[in-house]
Symmetry: D2
């Protein structure tokens, strides 16, 4: 996309008024190489952005943001933008993407429509037959720490779900290196913004959700097949399956996913000195894996979700269990940034030749 | 204690101004068979209760509560009360209990000083040599759902820690029945009141703790040996060890512990129909085990901590993992009630011949 | 109601599955003199209580609670109960109450349908013509601290709104005594449970409501006319109007209303010694006014809403402003208890000759 | 400061590890014209920033931030920086500032030491005799919306307290224009981060502060004299006093101050049409006053603190009370940004000739 070198890249956002969309707007309108030229909102087309989000009153400028909310119309989006970024519910982007690609527009999809390589997975997990199964081979799973190179040349990137992002960042190094066995328990704790803005239902009502912790999504949450697909790739290049047990929990907070993953060590520690050695080995393995990743930090200290609020950063830690048998792997991310909009911008940066951190500078608004 | 039949049982509370103490006061002052005759507070002796807790202004009556805060003095406590209930930090009650027992006073200890049967565990886990190791054999682990009969005739009861209560309630039925293997992962999510009232430290500062989830206490939290002791008893009558991997997490809420426990099924499911059968088997096993327990409820629906707020009730659920290999066991409790003060009152009821639910009636303040 | 002396009073609850209804159930099922014989729920008739509120699984007994959810049907309710208590939205009870009264059933209405004496106020403030205007004269405003005597002989009691309860408790003593002028600013801060359970709307969505404070209801909230009616009665026996400026605010918490009321002192302080004298005078005036009220506590210390959580208690304070010109009057209540269900039970106690505190014993679940 | 034109302005931060300090770091390290060359921390000198704030691991670069924590040493700070910005408790900067000014360093003080023009106010309100009273005449009150011009040429700027910022923004336009009388009630609702990071005390303990609202600081909070000083300037150029009644409240949230101010209208409305006209007049007056202010937005809709999270923006609204007698003026700010660090950066921008919004771009991290 040589235009990026000459001028700003033009971007359209599909699903601009959801929490993912408004995060894209927040990040892209400060991005030095981007101009947001089209905001599509099925529910609010015809309004202006600040009518839906009053905190964006008098925001944006012709150089950064066209704040009209328009129809989710592929032709208009293709005319307005070089890249289209979607933050839509399952099944919504699949119908539109082929037309965009044909019009030579690059697509970064924040939804699940192009994450799974196997077309048969869609009716099973998402209850729709995929309208463009041929694109599933072409689409790249947009986790830059795993697939950075492919993302940089892709036309269609499917950004991972928030839970898989947290889980895969935690397990990738030690799974790939063979330090753990491929039976993994992923116990995830998420803030409530993951449920989105428009689905007003009782469990997300303030009075019900605050001062409460619960689990949901069993036996099998929709994010499980992504985890399995990518874990299998890490473990055996996709040749053999991995067994992931995934339990998502809701936490009484807005943002953040804390992932605690458990797996048997390939070679358990049999005494304290081995345990200590293994501890270092796990941490070193993580540090090495993410040495070139500007957003992933491996620390001795167990991480806090608050460290990531509003940012694309992830913090990881590893511990051997007290009995020496298991690796316990920790990660924290902001589910709406590294788990959604920020990751999409990171992909955009790779696809357009920007610095990987462009528009994603800065750290948590703390406390 | 036949006096209970004639008159009210007199109770002294040691550690009355901590969160455990004030919960004991809340519960006991409405208990139909109890008169609280002595409140001991090392930090606030000489004050009145309402100076420390203004919400207790003009509270209590001679028949229910003497609201003076007095010294933590065993002789005075023995004179004032038939039963002494302690909610003190580790190492504080062990020095006092022998004198109380000698004075024919019954003791219910909410701290860890008499929970572990092995004296050698104290220097290792709690950094003190136990001053009365002979009592460790006599003391009964105060989890009524496991040791109700022994509790009812005991003079010294050691109420379990909050995390072990949640974990043991979840795993006891299926571990005892042999449905799961004795390698268990306990992933616990606790509200912040577990940290108590007086230890003002940065992680519990509102601005740091709210909108945050973190893990702590690794490699081995002090509540681990209790879990192992009791799990081993359940599994093999204490003959062989169990391996528990325990990871406590802090949640941004006041009350509640959500426990998610994972263990390999003794006989995994190999197809969907077996999986469904196993699901029912796990639930039925739990239901049967707790059939006579007024405070433990087994439900198909995954539980919420909010269901337990302010009560001695626990809600449990069980699921087989998506791949059929594991049991996932859930429990919720209020850490300050079933995890501390309520459980102590439940033990008191058994020890004094009251109805098991006396003083513990009612359900959650909801929402 | 002589039946109360012989046996338990039978009570029906209209609107049993809202937050007000479930609070009535919580309080009444532990009330020593009450049997809840009928739960009416327009939305959930046919279900059982525990299907809507799983925390009430295996709850109640024939002596305390019939947990079937039934139709909101006056005839059936009159057959089942001596007293009907309503926790319904505006306009719902007015249509039913006449039939109940005719059937010699006493009614305690938690909604606004019988609070205002002036029929013309209903179309203006609640957008409906009152179907039984003649009952507005008969109905007693159910704030026991102001109208205890009338309540005890009433057949129809209209329990106040949550905001008016907090405001009137704070201002009543000093307004009645003439210490302040009748132009009063009421700045109220409420938890979100006041919005109820069923009205799922964006402002009460967890992600929107947490970490947020806002004001609403201007220029004139529906609770304003009650405040004016009662303030005018306090000030001049209803002969002259008072001017109340009322601004409700939403706080990111479940329960509690903190009221800060401001009014010019009838005789301002002109120096520090007068200011100090006036301070005591305000506090003493409050203390004297509430000397016989078991639920109202006047303290030197500024109150906290947390002191009231789950209880029918109110805490009040008063201060003279730094410049000596104004009284600042504070109150805290639990909006769902003293602001709704607890107050209704307090009225029931007066109407049935129970102790005023029956079923309302105990203090806050703290912290 | 012509150096700004040639190169980046070098800035030292005094009090770098408090919440104000870490906000300055967050904002300045993304400021295009600034290099942070010195972080002073009395409590943590010798450590690195990321040891105190792990979320800042691997943060900063030589061009933006020297992340060593050093002594609070004026000489070293003057050598390292052209501008020193303080976020220190009361009484700490006054002793250091004279030396810095002598060394030709500009100072922006976030504390109260130079806010009040009257030296006699310091022993009264802050319990210390001012060591440099002659500087109080020179220091400019750093509220750019009121004193922008003076700030731009000042050497010493005293940024306002968080409460005064919220209050003055709300009342300035209508007070200056004479639309309201100068007797004003300021009812402020603040998040808990205003209490800072190091003062660990019981009221800010998570379990005590969450689910609670309270008032404090009566009869006279330290922020009152600033409000009076500036209100008097607005009303009469400082010739006559204004009477402000100020009641700060604590809200269970991290960030944000919601200010509700009440004042009698100079000319009350006597009917509905006048009321409506006055409503527009108040809003228009505000809009006009802030027409040139990039951070202040006047809206018809009542504002939410969440709109400002992490930003230097303020949202205002105005309403006439239902009886036509009073103006009700609303403002929301983020207490740590517009109420502290952001305002200091805004002052820096004016003092150094940067764009007023430099380093303060972007909007709330929402939700």
């Amino acid at each position: 996309m040589p235009k990026a070198l000459l001028d700003k890249v033009t971007v359209a956002i599909g699903g601009a008024t959801g929490y993912g969309g408004v995060e894209l707007i927040r990040l892209l309108s400060r991005h030095p190489g981007v101009r947001v030229t089209y905001l599509a909102s099925a529910s609010s087309a015809g309004k202006r952005l600040e009518e839906v989000y009053p905190h964006l009153a008098e925001y944006g400028s012709p150089e950064t943001l066209d704040s009209r909310l328009q129809a989710l119309e592929p032709k208009a989006m293709a005319e307005a933008a070089q890249v289209v970024m979607f933050a839509l519910p399952a099944g919504k982007s699949a119908a539109i993407v082929p037309a965009l690609l044909k019009a030579d527009v690059k697509v970064i999809d924040g939804g699940p429509d192009f994450r799974l390589h196997d077309p048969a997975a869609y009716p099973r997990w998402y209850k729709f037959d995929h309208p463009a199964p041929e694109l599933l081979k072409e689409a790249v799973y947009g986790l830059p720490e795993l697939h950075g190179e492919k993302i940089s040349t892709a036309s269609l990137v499917a950004a991972p779900g928030c839970y898989p992002t947290g889980a895969l960042l935690a397990i990738a190094p030690v799974l790939k290196s063979g330090l753990i066995k491929p039976q993994i328990i992923v116990d995830s704790k998420s803030g409530i913004s993951g449920a989105g803005r428009t689905a007003l239902s009782l469990p997300y009502h303030f009075t019900e959700a605050t001062e409460d912790v619960s689990a949901y999504g069993l036996p099998a949450h929709r994010h499980l097949p992504e985890m399995q697909q990518e874990a299998s790739l890490l473990h055996s290049g996709g040749k053999s399956e991995t067994a992931i047990t995934f339990t998502p929990h809701l936490m009484p907070m807005v943002r953040g996913i804390f992932t605690t993953a458990y797996a048997d060590l390939a070679e358990p520690a049999t005494d304290n000195s081995e345990l200590s050695t293994l501890n270092s080995q796990l941490t070193d393995c993580m540090k090495q894996f993410y040495a070139g990743s500007p957003f992933v930090h491996v620390s001795e200290q167990l991480p806090h979700t608050k460290w990531t609020a509003g940012t694309n950063h992830a913090f990881l830690s590893a511990r051997v269990s007290a009995d020496g048998s298991k690796a316990i792997l920790f990660s924290v991310i902001d589910n709406l940034v590294k788990g959604l909009a920020g990751q999409m911008v990171q992909c955009l940066n790779l696809m357009c030749g920007f610095s990987e951190t462009a528009g994603l500078e800065g750290r948590a608004v703390y406390p």
